[in-house]
Structures are given as structure tokens and as C-alpha cells.
Amino acid sequence: MFFRLLMESFRRQRRRKLLAGIAILLGTTAVTAMLALATTIGDRIHKELAVYGANIIVYPKSDQLEVKVGGVDIKPASTGSYLKESDLEKLKGIFWANNITGVSPELRVSDQARQINTDSPSFTVSVIGLWFDHDFGSLRTGVAQIHPWWKLNGKWPPLVADADSWQVAVGSSLAKKLDLKIGDKFLLRRGANLEGGGFTAAYVTGIVSTGDQTDTDVLVPLPVAQAIANTPDAVSRVEISARTKPEDAFARQDPDKMSPAKHDIWYCSPYANSIAYQICEAIPGAQAEQVRRVEQSEGNVLKRISGLMWLISAAALLAAAFAVSAAMATAILERRGEIGLMRSLGASKGSIALLFYSETGILAIFAGTLGYLAGSGLAAWLGARIFRGDGGAPESILIPVLLPVVVALALAVAIGGSTQSISAALRMNPSTILREDA
């Protein structure tokens, strides 16, 4: 009997059920979409913030002091100490290896360059050996990825160990100065530190505009710079971009003065400091530092934007709760006649309440699930539209954890919203209701 009542109620009162169902559907859609966006906003904004470049920098510990103003080395180190390029593989083995999203080693060499077909004397240029599109485990990374604001005309030089000529990219100011176009060549001295090193032809594959000092430099594949400096496997600096957790008071403590338990927690949190600490451990002779300008400010911006999204989600939750409970209350209010009839036919208050709660429950679960799917779709669509051009297909945001959360919320709000109306209707004298409705 109970189930027949339940079924008939759904079959016969489609309009009312539809209204309540739509309210729940819309509410859960809004909440799911907002929560899905709020939980993924961190990663998305982090990707956007990657435009600010590396947040961790690694250099040799025993390096001499850099004497550098505005990006220009005033006194280039004659015999510097270097990191080993082969040691970079060890980055894949650190605890937070998966959080490393970009690695860009560089080797700066001061070299002599000369224009071809002219008698003008050779002059000093700064040559930077770099990774351009390097295969690093599951990552394709390099200088272009760490500096997304660099604008390249042409191509990055490919990595060919050709002994006779080199392929290079040049900074825009240097290209202007030497009147170089893509495909042109000029001469670079081979073995700057060696007496009598001859000049080698360098073909320009690309012209890069960086907006900083690099505009006057020659950018070459790392092995070429190592050959020029005659320092195989050497790297003078590594820029690393990593997904980190914004720094808090705990992150700022000195890890060497922590208790072992605290040290473990610190070590296993993706703070820029702890990742830098792990890099120091992994690479011999390395000193890793967080780039505070990037790291601290990113944390700030990230915190504000995700905080805003969570607060808006709370507003969405409030709005949805209000919408659903209002719709449920109206739906019950309209059916007071039924309640009066059932009471006068001898149904107990408990069984009537159970019937109405079951109806509400079924509606909430059904519409809540639909709303979850619709909301996930909406979040994916919104996310893809707003953050398009990040590369990669629009990722679907189907967060399974949200399903029970959203359905439980819908259930709680629907039942909560109808409770007041149900109990009010049950309190009324059945005959009054019936007469009033007649």
C-alpha cells in the first residue's frame, strides 16, 4: 500500500514533482559546478601563474659571488664551479618529483662573435646554453616553458651534434645590431678559453624577444655552450618550476632545528622550501633557493582567488538550500488536502510523514544525481571556456567525491525544508483542512 501510494504520487502529480525536482536540479547543478571549479581553481591558476617563471633556483654552492647589475655580468667569473647536467636526472627521484613542472638548466659563456663577409673586428657576446624542448622523463621541458613570455620568431635550434656548424637563436637586440635574419649565419669562436680556437659558422634558426638582458645574447643548445667553454656536462644555474603550497609560519622554520616528527611533516609538504631542501640533498654541491618574488606573490594571489571561489561556492550553497527548501515547503503546502484526507481515513501521523519524506528523498536523490552530472558538465565547459588556450584538451571535471556530498546536501536540505510544512500540516485538524479546501 505504502509503495502504491508512493508510486501513484509520482505518476499523478507530475507538475508538482517537476517543480520541486527542477528546484533541486538547479540547486545541485549550481553547487556542483561551483565546488568543482573551486577545487580545481588552484591548479588552473597555478598554471596561469607559471607565466612568472621559475620559483626555485639552483646554483653551485661554492660559486663565486656574482657581480651582476641589470643582468650584465660586470666581472665574469673566470673559473667558476659548475653543477653537472647528468646530476639533473636525480631530480626525478626526490619526494616531490611529481610536483616539478619545468626544469631549465643554463650555462653562460662569454665568447667572441664576428660578422661574416666584413672586416669588422670580433666582439664579445654572451652565449647561453639551454634546453629548448628537452625530454625529461614524463616531461618535455626547457627554457621556453619556463619563460612563456618570450616571443620567438622562427624555431628553437635543434639539438644536433654537428661538428662543422652550429644552429643558434639570437636575442632581438643582437639580431638588430648584426642585421641578422632567420637563415643567416655569423661566426662564433669555438673554445673561448682555448688559445687559437677557430671560428665556426652559426646559423640563425630563430630570433627571440625577451624584454630583458637576454635580448643581447646568443641562445644555443646546452652541448654547444659546453663545447665553447670546454666544460663538458657543466651547468651554471638551473631554474625549476614546481607546484607548491603557499608558505605559512610552519614552512619558514629551520628544518634542521625541528623535532624528527615535525621534520617529517615539513619534508612531506610541498612547500617551496622543502622542495628546495630536497633538491640540495639530491644534487651534490647544489644550493637551491626559492625565488621569493615569484613564490611569495603567487601564494598570495592563489590564496585570494581560491578563497573568493570558496566564498562564492558558499553563497551558491546558501542560494541552492534556500531554493530547494522553499520549493519543498510550497509543494507540501499545496498538498494539505491529501494529508487531511489520509488522516481522516485513519493513517497515523508517522506513516504520513514517512510517505512524504520518502517522496522527498527519492526526488532529492534522483534530481541531485542529475544535478551533479549537469554541474560537472557545466564546470568543465566553463573551465574550458575561461581557461582556454592553456594547451591540452578541456579536462572533464568529474570529481567522484562530490557525488555523495552533493546528494547528501540535496537530501538534507529537501527534508529540512519540508519538515516545517509537514509538521504544520499534521498538527492541523483534518476536518479544518478538508473544509477549507472544499
Partner: protein, 367 residues
Amino acid sequence: MATLSLPGILRRSLIHRRARSLSALIALTVSAGIATALLTLYTDLDQKLHKEFRSFGANIVITASANVPLPTDALTRVQQVAGNDAIAAEFAYAVATTDTGTSVVVTGTDFAQVRRLDSWWQLDAWPDPNQTDAALLGQRAANFVGNEHSVTLTYAGKPITLKGAGRLRTGGDEDSRIYMPLPTFTAWIGIAPSVIELQVPGGAKRVETTIAQLKSALPEVQVQPVRQLVEGESRIVDRTHALMYGAVLLIALTVAVSVLATLSASVLERRRDFALMKALGGSQMLLMGMFLLEALVLAIAGVAAGFVVGSAAAFAISQLNFHTATLPHLSVLPLVLLVNLAIATLAALLPLRVLRTLQPAALLKGE
């Protein structure tokens, strides 16, 4: 017998069915409140986000051309062009020798300005701005200084002793420099500032206009944007803006539909009033007009209450998240009013089709 005037009917209708009027009023207040809160936040969003990006420091760098120092009044002129809300700091560079015989870049600057500009600098304590012989040691530079408390530097045979105020950690070039107050630097070395770092609040457009103005005001120097900052900032602000826009629409739609459902249900429930008035000779138009008027009065009351509640909510959210206040914006009021009136009108008119087909006699008999 008291005459029945329209305001009289309206008043009684609102007062007699107090519970129902109240629930309709609450519904309209909530919709107005949420609309006000979201719109107020939305209006202020860009400004607030741009403010957060100030922590990235300078977005314009002004550099003296080679061998020509900056004009002596450069800082004042830059500040004039950029406006009072911009932060500018000048830097002078020279290479000196430490007591251990290492070459080090020494920088003269104004600590008070740098502190505002480069908030990411981590140090134990900022030196007292009145102390003329304070020195900040970059953490790498500090390793090449023998005595960190009494730092002796030599430039072209001229020694100077500064009081070390502590180590500076940034992870950038600053780590290998020693910073000192500009007047002391100039008195010691005699080199004028060569770089002004400028932070202009606002987005890419403001930066571009400022650069153009600076170029015409100071033609002899190089003015360059810090490209990654300017580009990244507009991208992120635009995206957050779009996200917020989507959220506002979504929430507004949810609330609007639910309010609509509640209100039109309550109009439907009053079929009997409708039938009675129709039986007493009220025309269809007059009766619909009365329902509409009632809904509109409730809508306006809802906007009044909702604006207050919503502005308070926006204030709280922005205090909580951005730590700055958002004051009520009267400019959002027309839109909120429009939305609420539209909802109320729709809610009163939607049941029209149902009501029109009603036969008063049948309804009053209870069929």
C-alpha cells in the same frame, strides 16, 4: 460600511495572510540580497585583484642610457607622471671590495620605498630609516664578508664601515648584493642612481599609458615594462573576472527560478480569493493588476531589505578574503531592482493562464 479602496485591499491582503506575505517577502529579500552581494563584489573585483598583484613588485623599469646618468630630478618627475598611487624606488650600483677581498655589487637605495615596493624581501628586521650607515647583506654576499656587524667596504681606495642590519633573502640577484642608504652611497662613491623601479597599480592599459607618458617626459632614458608581470596579471585578472561572471549568472539563475516557483505557487493558492472577487464583479484586468501590484510592493520591500543584507555580506566576504572593505555600491541598485521586479512580475503573470480559465462558480462550490 467601509468603502473598499485599492490601497485598503492591498493592505488587508498583505496583513491578513501574514505568513504567506512574509514568505514571499523573504524570498524576494534573499534574491535581492544575493544579487546585491555578488554584483557589489563583482564591481570591486578587478581593483581588488590588481591590488593583490602589487606584491609582485615593480612592473616598469626605468634605466639610464649607457654613460649618461639619470637626471637628478628623475624620481620626482617619474612620480609626477605615474601619479601618487604609484611606488617608485631608485637604485645606484657600484662594484666595491669586501674585507675578504671579494668584489661585490653595492647598491644605494631608499629602504623605506623598497620595503613598500619589494614586499617579498625576507629579512630579520628592516634597518631604521634614519640610520645612515645601515647595510643589508644579501645571503650569498654575506658569505664573503668577514665581519657581518661592522662591514668594511672599499671603493677606489676609499674605505667605508657600515653597520650590518642583517641578512637579506630573496632567491634573486639581490642575494649577492649589499644594500645601503642612497645618501651614504652617493657621499662615498659619487655615482648617481641609474635605475628607477616603478610600480603602477592597475592593469596592462595603465602600464602602457604610463610608459608612453614617461617616454615623452624623459626622452633620454629607457623605459621598459617587466613583461611577464604585465602580461600575467591581465591574464589572471581576466580569467578570474570571467569565472566570477559565470558564477554570478549561475547563482542568480538558481535563485530567480526558486523565487519564481515560490511566488507563483502562492498566487495559484489564492484561486479562491480570485474567484470570489471575480464573482463580485471584478474585471480580469483589475484583478491581475491587484495581484501584480501586491507582488511589486513586496519586490520593492525585498530590494530595500536585500540591498542592506547583500551589502553587508559583500563587506564581510571582502574583509574575510581580501582584508579590505567593500563599501556598498549604489550603482548596483537599479539592476537589482530591475531583476527583482522582473521576477515578481513574472511570478504574478505566469499563473494568469490558469486563473483566466477558472469558472468562479465552480471554484467557489469547491470543484
